[in-house]
C-alpha cells in the first residue's frame, strides 16, 4: 500500500468509487492505483465486449471482496443508474475510439451526459474526474517551441482538423463544464501521450507509416509523454485530493525526450526499420496540397492530412506539469529513462513473439 495521509482526501477508504472504462489501458492502472492507495470499494464498469482478464488479475492480486465488476453500456441510462448508485467519486475513462465523428461523439459525449445525469440524480457524488486529452488544445497562436499549458485555448476547429477523437473529447469536456452549473464538482485531466507496457504502436506525434514507409515528422519536437503508472496516479490524485475543484490539469512527465531521441531509442531497443525524416515545413506544404485536393475533388480523398492537424501534432511545443504538481503534490514516480526502458522491453518481447 502506498502510504498517504488520508486527511488530504475528500473521501474515506470505505466510500465507493466508480471507474468507467476500467478495463482499458489507463483504466485498469487507475483501478490498481486506487487499490494500492487503500480504497476498498471500487466499482469497475466495462463494456460487455471487454474481456475483464486484467481486472480479474487485479482482483486476485489485491484479494479484495469490495471490488465490483459491472458490464454494461453507458448509452443505457439504466446501466448508468446502476453504475452511479452510491458512488462518491467517478473516474470517467470510457471514451469513443471510433474512426468516425458520430461514433466518437456518441461514445464520448452521449455516454458522459448519461453518467452525469445518473450521478446527479443519486446525489452522492463528491467529484467527477473527466479524463480528456492534450489533443483538444489548439496551438495555432503559439509559436514553434512555445509553451502549451492549461491556459491555452481548446481548439474549436476540430472538424476541419479531421480529428474525431479530439472532437469527441472536446465536446465531452464541454458537457462536463455545462453540468458544473447544475452543481457538478469536477476536475478535467488531459494526459499527453500515455505509454508503457500494453501499448505497442509508436506515437503518432513521432511519425506515421500510412504510406508504406515510416515518415519521421516529430524531428526535434518534445514529446508530451506520460508513463502509464505516473498518469494513473495523477488521475487518482485528481479525484481524491482536497482543494481541487473545477480545474483543468495536464499530465506529462518530467525529462521529456524529443521525437528523434524516442525514435532512435526505439530502433536500438525494439527493432530496426527504415524511416525518412520529413521536416515540419515540408509536411505542412504536403498537408496544404492534400487539403486542397480533398476539396477540389469533392471528397475523393478525405482531408485526413490538413494544415491544422499538421500544426497540432508536428509543429512542436514545450509542455508543463507545474500546475498538476502544485495542486496535487504529484510527482512522476517512474523516471523517463526507466519508463522508456520498460516500454521498449515490452515492445521487444512482443516483436520476438510475433517473429
Amino acid at each position: 500500500m502506498i502510504s498517504q495521509d488520508c486527511n488530504e482526501y475528500i473521501i474515506s477508504p470505505e466510500e465507493k468509487i466508480l471507474v468507467t472504462g476500467a478495463n482499458g489501458f489507463i483504466g485498469s492502472r487507475v483501478v490498481r492505483t486506487l487499490l494500492s492507495y487503500g480504497f476498498k470499494r471500487v466499482r469497475c464498469f466495462t463494456r460487455p465486449t471487454s474481456r475483464s482478464g486484467s481486472l480479474e488479475d487485479i482482483v486476485k492480486k489485491f484479494n479484495r471482496a469490495g471490488i465490483e465488476i459491472i458490464k454494461g453500456n453507458l448509452l443505457s441510462r439504466e446501466d448508468c443508474r446502476i453504475a452511479a448508485e452510491g458512488v462518491s467519486i467517478i473516474y470517467h475513462l470510457a471514451a469513443g475510439i471510433d474512426k468516425s465523428f458520430p461514433g466518437c461523439f456518441l461514445n464520448s459525449v452521449v455516454t458522459t451526459r448519461n453518467i452525469l445525469d445518473a450521478a446527479i440524480e443519486k446525489q452522492t457524488l463528491k467529484r467527477f474526474v473527466n479524463v480528456s486529452s492534450l489533443a483538444v488544445y489548439s496551438n495555432e497562436e503559439i509559436p514553434r517551441g512555445g509553451l502549451l499549458d492549461e491556459t491555452c485555448t481548446v481548439d474549436t476547429k476540430l472538424v476541419e482538423r479531421y480529428d474525431p477523437y479530439a472532437y469527441g473529447k472536446a465536446k465531452q469536456d464541454q458537457v462536463v463544464v455545462d453540468y458544473a452549473a447544475k452543481g457538478l464538482p469536477y476536475v478535467i485531466v488531459r494526459p499527453g501521450v500515455v505509454y508503457g507496457p500494453g501499448k505497442t504502436s509508436i506515437p503518432g506525434r513521432v511519425g506515421i507509416d500510412t504510406f508504406g514507409i515510416f515518415l519521421h515528422l516529430g524531428g526535434l519536437n518534445t514529446l508530451p509523454l506520460s508513463y502509464i503508472e505516473n498518469c494513473a496516479e495523477a488521475i487518482v490524485l485528481a479525484g481524491i485530493k482536497k482543494g481541487v475543484g473545477s480545474e483543468v490539469l495536464n499530465i506529462v512527465d518530467d525529462d521529456l525526450p524529443t521525437s528523434g531521441e524516442f525514435l532512435h531509442q526505439y530502433k536500438i531497443n525494439v527493432r530496426k526499420f527504415k524511416s525518412i525524416n520529413v521536416s515540419y515545413r515540408l509536411f505542412y506544404i504536403f498537408s496544404y496540397l492534400w487539403e486542397n485536393y480533398a476539396k477540389w475533388s469533392k471528397g475523393q480523398l478525405p482531408s485526413a492530412f490538413n494544415r491544422k492537424r499538421c500544426t497540432v501534432y508536428w509543429k512542436g511545443n514545450q509542455y508543463s506539469n507545474q500546475k498538476i504538481k502544485k495542486m496535487l503534490g504529484w510527482e512522476p514516480r517512474v523516471k523517463m529513462e526507466e519508463g522508456l526502458r520498460r516500454y521498449f522491453e515490452y515492445c521487444r518481447k512482443l516483436e520476438k513473439n510475433h517473429a
Binding site: 453500456n73 443505457s76 471510433d98 465523428f101 458520430p102 461514433g103 452521449v110 465536446k171 471528397g299 475523393q300
Partner: protein, 353 residues
C-alpha cells in the same frame, strides 16, 4: 432548390450528409434524432439550417422535399409512412423494411401520394456496377440471364460494429428477424433481384452459425447463408453470405446464353467472359492474355476516373442519391424499380423465415 431532411444522425447519416453536400441544387434543411445531442452534432458539423428531436417538427418547420431515413430498420416503416404522409419523398437506408408486407405498404403509399421512395442499395450504383448494367442493357449477355451468383463477405473482426454486436446481447441488430445478416445482405440480394423476371421467386435457403462464432459461444447469430433462387422463367441464382471466406469478397457473376460478366466490387473490376472458343492449345494460350488485357484495362479505367475526380469511395451512394433527386425533381424513372425492392424483401423474408 431541393430541400432535404435527415432522420437518424448516427454514422451512416454522416455518409449521406457528406454526399449530399456535393450535389448541386439541394440543401439539407433539417436533421432529426430523438437523441438531441446526436442531432446537434450533425447540425453543427454540416452547418445545417436546424435540428430537431421530433420528425413532425421537422416537417412543420421545413417541409422537406426528400427525407433520408438513416435509423435502425425497426423504425423504417413507421418513419417512412410519416414522411410520405407529410408529403416528402423518401430515401430509405437498407434494409428497406423488416419484411415484404411493410415494403409493399410503403410503396403503395408512395404511389398513392404521387411521391417517390427508394432503398439504399448504393452498391448497385458504384462505377463498376453501372458499367455492368450498361453492358447488360446493350445485350452483351445475348438474352435473359440464365444464372447469377452473388457472394457477399463480411468481416466479423470489424471493431466498431461486429465486436460491439457480439458482446452486447441487447444490441438493436439482434432484434431484427435475420439479426446481423438482415442488416447486411440486401446489398448482395438486390443484385440478383434486379435481373429476376417475376414478383415472387422460389427460394431455398440454409443459414447457420459459423464454427468461428460457435467457438466464441455465439449461437443466435447466423453468419453463413447459402440460398438458391429461381424465377418463373427458370433463371436461377446462388446467393452466399459469409463471414469466414478469405479474402472477404463482394462479387457478382451474371451468366447469359452467349456471354457472361464478373463484377468485383472490392477492386472495381469488370471482366467479360466471352463465349469465343479457340482451337486446340490456343484455347489455353490466348485467353490468359485476353484476361490480362482486360485487367490492365480496368486498372487504367479506374485511374482515369480517379484523375477526373469521379472515383469516390462512396460513389455508389452519391450516384444513387443524385439519380433519386433527379427522379423527384423531373419525374424521371426511379433509379431502383419498386419491383426490385419488393423482390429483394421477399427473398430476405424467405431466407429469414
Amino acid at each position: 432548390m431541393l430541400k432535404i431532411g435527415i432522420i437518424g444522425c448516427g454514422k451512416i447519416a454522416d455518409l449521406h450528409a457528406e454526399q449530399i453536400r456535393w450535389i448541386p441544387g439541394c440543401e439539407i434543411v433539417g436533421v432529426c434524432d430523438q437523441e438531441e445531442l446526436m442531432a446537434k452534432q450533425l447540425y453543427e458539423r454540416f452547418r445545417v439550417k436546424k435540428y430537431f428531436t421530433d420528425p413532425r417538427e421537422l416537417f412543420k418547420a421545413e417541409k422537406p422535399d426528400v427525407v433520408h431515413i438513416t435509423t435502425p430498420a425497426q423504425s423504417h416503416f413507421e418513419l417512412g409512412k410519416l414522411c410520405l404522409e407529410a408529403g416528402a419523398s423518401v430515401y430509405m437506408e437498407k434494409p428497406f423494411t423488416l419484411n415484404f408486407k411493410e415494403a409493399q405498404a410503403l410503396i403503395d403509399l408512395a404511389v398513392e401520394k404521387k411521391l417517390k421512395i427508394t432503398a439504399g442499395h448504393n452498391v448497385q450504383f458504384s462505377n463498376v456496377a453501372r458499367r455492368m448494367r450498361r453492358l447488360v442493357q446493350n445485350g452483351y449477355l445475348g438474352g435473359f440471364p440464365v444464372h447469377m451468383e452473388s457472394i457477399y463477405g463480411y468481416d466479423l473482426g470489424d471493431r466498431s460494429y461486429a465486436t460491439a454486436l457480439l458482446g452486447d446481447k441487447r444490441h438493436w441488430i439482434r432484434s431484427l428477424p435475420g439479426k446481423l445478416a438482415h442488416n447486411i445482405i440486401s446489398h448482395g440480394v438486390c443484385r440478383i433481384a434486379e435481373f429476376l423476371n417475376c414478383d415472387n421467386p422460389k427460394v431455398i435457403a440454409q443459414s447457420f452459425t459459423s464454427q468461428f462464432l460457435r467457438n466464441l459461444g455465439e449461437t443466435d447469430i447466423k453468419d453463413e447463408i447459402r440460398a438458391v433462387i429461381m424465377d418463373q422463367n427458370g433463371a436461377t441464382a446462388y446467393f452466399t453470405f459469409t463471414s469466414q471466406v478469405r479474402p472477404i469478397i463482394h462479387q457478382f457473376r451474371i451468366y447469359g446464353p452467349r456471354n457472361s460478366l464478373i463484377v468485383d466490387d472490392d477492386h472495381q473490376i469488370l471482366i467479360r467472359e466471352k463465349g469465343t472458343k479457340y482451337k486446340s492449345y490456343l484455347d489455353h494460350f490466348i485467353p490468359p492474355f485476353v484476361y490480362a488485357k482486360q485487367l490492365a484495362g480496368n486498372g487504367a479505367y479506374n485511374i482515369k476516373k480517379f484523375l477526373k475526380r469521379d472515383f469516390h469511395m462512396s460513389s455508389g451512394m452519391r450516384n444513387l442519391i443524385e439519380l433519386f433527386y433527379q427522379s423527384v425533381r423531373y419525374d424521371d424513372p426511379l433509379p431502383i424499380s419498386y419491383k426490385e425492392i419488393i423482390i429483394t424483401t421477399r427473398i430476405m423474408d424467405a431466407i429469414f423465415g
